[in-house]
């Protein structure tokens, strides 16, 4: 059996990568992908701990989380499409109408 520390290590790496991408990238779609990375790293944690115990709750949570992530991606891409129609770009640096 693979020790749980390795799963945690994997999910940490994924989380850090996602975070790094979020902070450095400017493209809206890349940001969406980074957010997916963050969510999935959490999912890995959930599944790993669940498999380590005689309990399926974590895996059920992970399924919910994936469904939510799909919905969130749908909303996010819809926003990006309408932003593109409005501004002709999805570079988030240029989209600052609500700034002071």
């Amino acid at each position: 059996m693979i020790p749980v520390e390795l799963y945690i290590l994997l999910s940490s790496v994924m989380f850090t990568l996602g975070l790094y991408g979020l902070v450095t990238q400017r493209n809206g779609i890349k940001l969406m992908m980074c957010i997916e990375l963050l969510l999935n790293s959490a999912n890995i944690n959930l599944v790993a701990f669940s498999a380590n115990q005689p309990n399926a709750n974590g895996q059920v949570f992970a399924l919910f989380s994936i469904a939510l992530a799909a919905a969130e991606a749908g909303v996010g891409f819809a926003i990006l499409i309408s932003l593109y129609r409005l501004y002709g770009t999805i570079d988030l640096d240029n989209i600052n109408a609500l700034r002071w």
Partner: protein, 678 residues
Amino acid sequence: MFSDFAYLIVGLPVLAFVLCLFFGWHLPRGGGFMTVLATFVGLIISWGIYKEMPALPNGILHQSMPWFANFNVGILVDPLAIAMLLMITFVVTLIHTYANAYMDGDPGAARYFAEAALFTASMLGLVYSDNLLQLFIFWELVGLCSYLLIGFWYRKPSAAAAAKKAFLTTRVGDVLFLLGIVLLYNNMVSLNLHLAPGEYLLQFPVIYKYLALIPPTQLTFVALCLLGGAVGKSGQFPLHVWLPDAMEGPTTVSAMIHAATMVTAGVYLVARMFPLFYAAPNALTVVALVGAFTALFAATMGLTTFDIKRVLAFSTVSQLGFMMAGLGVGSVVGAASVGISIFHLIGHSFFKALLFLCAGSVIHAVGTNDMREMGGVGKYMKWTAYTMLIGGASLAGFPLTTGFFSKDEIIVTAYEYGLAQSFIPYLFLVLAAILTAIYTFRLWFVAFTGEPRSDYHKHESPWLMLGPLCILAVFALGFGIVAQGGFYDYVGTNFDHYGVNFAELGVIGGHAIEDAEGVAAEGEHAVAAEGEHGAAAEGKEGGDAGEPWYIQILPIIIALGGILVAALFYYLHKFDPSMITSERDPIRKLLLKGYYQHEIYTQWFAEKVIYGTAIVCNMIDIKIVDGALNWISEVIVAFGGGVRRVQTGVVQNYITAVMLGVVVLVVVIEIALQVGFV
């Protein structure tokens, strides 16, 4: 039976006001007949109440209902009020009738009659209010109507300015009046009275009843504040400046508001509150001095004016001064002075309304106010000339006319006051009476005799105008001789209906005249009381006997002498005014300039003092009050402007901040765990 319809005296003119305002446009002569009718029915009801009053409890009509808190609305008709009600409804009915002809063809006739009806309603309401608050409300309404009617020809800049001046000047008095009411109310509240049901603090009977309990100094404050209101409304010095300017309105307005009725409201207020003035130390002295000074001051200005209406306006101010002085000298004759003063008020309203309506008739025909352009009008307008002669004779105090009896009585009472306290009011009043006779007949001779000095339309006015003139002339001539003695007793005993004890109040006020009645006059009063003992007794009988013969016939000499002087100068032309004065004469210049009142009131006081103060206040307001607020808001805005830079709008910055926050949080928690806080 008439008493049950007392409210209609005010109600009908209000109805006429509404009808004229909305439907007058479609009716002949602006619906003026409704205004006449409403006032005339008021006259009938008033007469009915007058006949019924002796049978009522206490001989007065008192109806009241609660309003809010401890205030009420009510009707109080006592001899003082009924005298005013009858006079107002009678004179105003005639003036409205006259106005039907006078205002015919004016595009604003409907507006005129609506406002005139509202004025009538408020004046009548003022007179029979049963409490001070209600009186004040009608008082303000009367002021509003005065403003509206002075500015009736509002497209004329001088009329608009005069209306504004009248409104602002009387406002000074009104603020004092309101202050007086508040002071009186506070004092009444602090007495912790246990009022019977149906009694309210500001009701006149209640005020009369508990007056003696209020501290005398407070009474003086209240009295002087109320006097301030009266001074404003009745055009007494120093708030008289608006009244001559008020002649910008139609002549009927001058006759109705600025001669016969509204301006008497101030005198009426003092008469109504006479027990309070009587009980307040020194208040009546002030009333007497203000009145006497105004009487003389205005009379001198009447001498040099050439505008026919302004002469009459100055004469009104002067005669109102007589009435005030008549009340003021009441400290020696007690409540009898109310009878004397109100008698002059009623007589004055007859002959002054008459004089104004005659002047209106002349202006209507000639088309100018300037006497210098008239001359010889009497030849073409016989009725107007003779009725005006009667009015003038009455104003001048020609023997056996109404003005003779009423003015004579005030002067004689002032003489009694002189014996007891000071001859200043007497002196002023006598001089004013001489001048009155001179300027009145100067007016008549210059306008009605001689040769026409300009080309004017020579025609007599229509009968709708002459009718009221003739009726008023009859009253100006005969009212005095008929009503004389009985009237004093009727109105002079007004306060007996409320059981006001003037002997007791006199002790508080320091007058103590009725010591024969058994009230001991102590110390300082004793000397005065001795001197006026006899006088007081006669005062009650109308002052017919007791004074030396030369005092008795002095008014006759004054009147005849004044008329003679005027005739010598302006009719027979034996003398010419230039023989006694020259262009450089300082007194003549002073009079022509109207005592530099325009310079003092407008150019110095209004434009320098008030405007200067306003500028300083404005500076303080902008620099300090607004400045502090602006400074605070500027600091906050600047702070916000700095802080908002944090919100870059770049999502990455936010994420970084969140991350850093989490890291800090983790570190803090870790340290806390290590140290053992948690």
